[in-house]
Symmetry: C2
Subunit: 144 residues, 2 copies
């Protein structure tokens, strides 16, 4: 069981924006800081904007920032929104092909387990997971 | 958040062996039934044997079968054992490279969420998830 990379990267974007708020930061810069693909991070940013977690402004001085205070951004909500493209098992997705799908007794237990995973994360806000503000800022702010 | 394919396939192997018990079934046959890679399923079978969930016998008349009654095979235990090679996020694995690892506030919440996922599956045995025995057998037993 694993968090997909897309969600992992989305959480890194939110942590960065939280620590550097109210500054706008481009997805390109966040990609560089973490050593990730800029193209991939741009897609992550688009999803975060669609989910209402960040706002994005184009052009010079543009970039991303949180759409609301970190206390009001729930980690469970972020992971739930981003999981849409990533079913817990193949048979929850669009390309379900498993032979025993119609009679499988694992679907309900797996759906419950997925919900337990999300519910556990519902207990945390972005503010809760960025309490080491100073140490995070030291890592996430370019020198100079 | 998703169950990795390895665990998905392992559950399919266990369901098949449960429904066809006490018959021995080869991983090659299970691969054919589900339309999966035989090579991949052989690796899955090895892990299930290492985990003590199945026994494997080579040669003619050989194959896999459950090492104990389905009531005594816990789904949470299976998923926990197989997850070893598959960390919930990159930073729980051997190739942890995330910049903010030392001060990240997401690690404990994600570890808790993973445990909630497993704990939810701990409530089910292999017998619980294969109650549609007849319908499953019809799908998982070759004609003739």
């Amino acid at each position: 069981m694993q968090l997909d990379k897309f969600t992992d990267y989305a959480l890194r974007v939110l942590v960065t924006l939280c620590v550097r708020a109210p500054e706008r930061v481009s997805s390109t810069e966040i990609a560089r800081v973490f050593g990730l693909s800029a193209n991939h991070l741009a897609k992550v940013a688009t999803q975060l904007a669609h989910g209402g977690f960040v706002t994005s402004e184009r052009g010079r001085g543009g970039g991303l920032r949180l759409s609301r205070p970190a206390e009001q951004i729930n980690i469970g909500a972020v992971v739930r929104v981003l999981k849409k493209s990533d079913p817990v098992v193949e048979c929850f997705g669009h390309n379900a092909s498993c032979l025993i799908l119609p009679v499988c007794g694992l679907r309900a237990p797996l759906a419950d387990a997925q919900e337990a995973f999300f519910a556990s994360l519902d207990r945390y806000s972005l503010a809760d997971v960025t309490k080491s503000q100073r140490a995070l800022a030291a890592l996430l702010t370019p020198a100079g």
